[in-house]
């Protein structure tokens, strides 16, 4: 046998004035009791406005586009607008590895590479370039090239 929620309790439930345990208990009852669920909906002050909100119409050709996307997944894939950014990240990382250097410099470079990888992951997830991504890659490439040049200069002086 089911006992329905008394009116005053239902009103306090809708207003959020029950304590946590009572609210959970009432919610579970409402989930299982269509009668109380309907009363709770009616007790909501904006119920009529909710009911009057018109349903938006599905855009023309929506279902056809979904089916086409299922049939031709390659056409549906978001284009990688900036594939060169990923390549830039790898080049930057490689240059930094080649450059070597003092432990503090290596630590600093490691942080830079980690940041670069973070940017690359972000790009992969969002498929969108950002100014910070471009700046990071430019900075990494500059750093990598500079360190490599310094290293090669040092090696050539040593051999001389």
């Amino acid at each position: 046998m089911t006992r329905h929620i008394p009116d005053d309790v239902l009103l306090r439930f809708v207003e959020g004035d029950l304590d946590d345990d009572e609210a959970v208990e009432a919610a579970l009852h409402i989930d299982a009791c269509p009668h109380c669920a309907a009363r709770a909906v009616q007790a909501e002050p904006l119920a009529e406005v909710f009911a009057a909100l018109p349903d938006p119409e599905l855009p023309v050709g929506f279902e056809e586009r979904v089916l086409a996307q299922l049939e031709h997944p390659e056409a549906a894939m978001a284009p990688m607008r900036v594939p060169w950014l990923g390549i830039g990240m790898i080049m930057s990382a490689a240059l930094l590895m080649v450059a070597g250097g003092e432990p503090t410099v290596v630590l600093w470079k490691f942080a830079a590479v980690a940041r670069g990888l973070g940017v690359a992951v972000n790009l992969f997830l969002n498929h969108l370039p950002s100014p910070s991504a471009v700046l990071t890659i430019a900075a990494l490439l500059t750093l990598g090239c500079s360190l490599t040049a310094v290293r090669l200069l040092g090696l050539s002086r040593e051999s001389a």
């Binding site: 046998m1 089911t2 006992r3 329905h4 929620i5 008394p6 309790v9 809708v14 207003e15 959020g16 029950l18 304590d19 946590d20 345990d21 009572e22 609210a23 959970v24 208990e25 009432a26 919610a27 579970l28 009852h29 409402i30 989930d31 299982a32 009791c33 109380c36 909906v41 909501e44 002050p45 904006l46 406005v49 909710f50 009057a52 909100l53 018109p54 349903d55 938006p56 599905l58 855009p59 929506f62 279902e63 586009r65 979904v66 089916l67 996307q69 299922l70 549906a76 969002n126 969108l128 950002s130």
Partner: protein, 198 residues
Amino acid sequence: MGAHGYGGSLALRLEPAPVDEQAFIAAALEGDESARAWLLRQHSTPVYRFCLRMLSNEEDAQDAAQETMVKVLRNLHRYRSDWRFSTWVFGIARNTCIDEHRRRKRRRSTSDVEIVDKSASPFEITEREMEAERLRGALEELPPLYREVLLLYHFEQLKYREIADLLDLPLGTVMNRIFRARKRLRTLFDELEAGGNA
């Protein structure tokens, strides 16, 4: 448990999807294209409605709804029948809206958010339509965390327990969120009404 003890089973009751829907899901998994089209037809409108009300932009909503339905049909094998199918679908729609919202934030500032223009002439706008317009405005003003629970409960008819499962939150947390959302919505609605009358 509280002191009221309403009787009846208070245990989790996730109603299984209607038998015919389960049959359509099984058929779609077997490669039946008409079953797949049926599922698409059944769920496209609610998903688009949810996405539109979450994102407040027709173009973004269309993208999100389309992506949701593609994910649903591609991942049918991951659907567990102890959930209502529509709850599972809304879970995917919600996650897709969150992704779309993040992408949108990167693409443009919030000041560019398009307001859905229904372009009704002033003579066509009845009191009910004005209220609906205010409600749309109030929903748009609500933080997404509040908006989603109200949309799922009041417009998509999910149960409290289903929303808790979908959001992976304790029921008490969801209830608090819904209560706060309702109060905030009413305040916003009244403010818009007062603003409209001023």
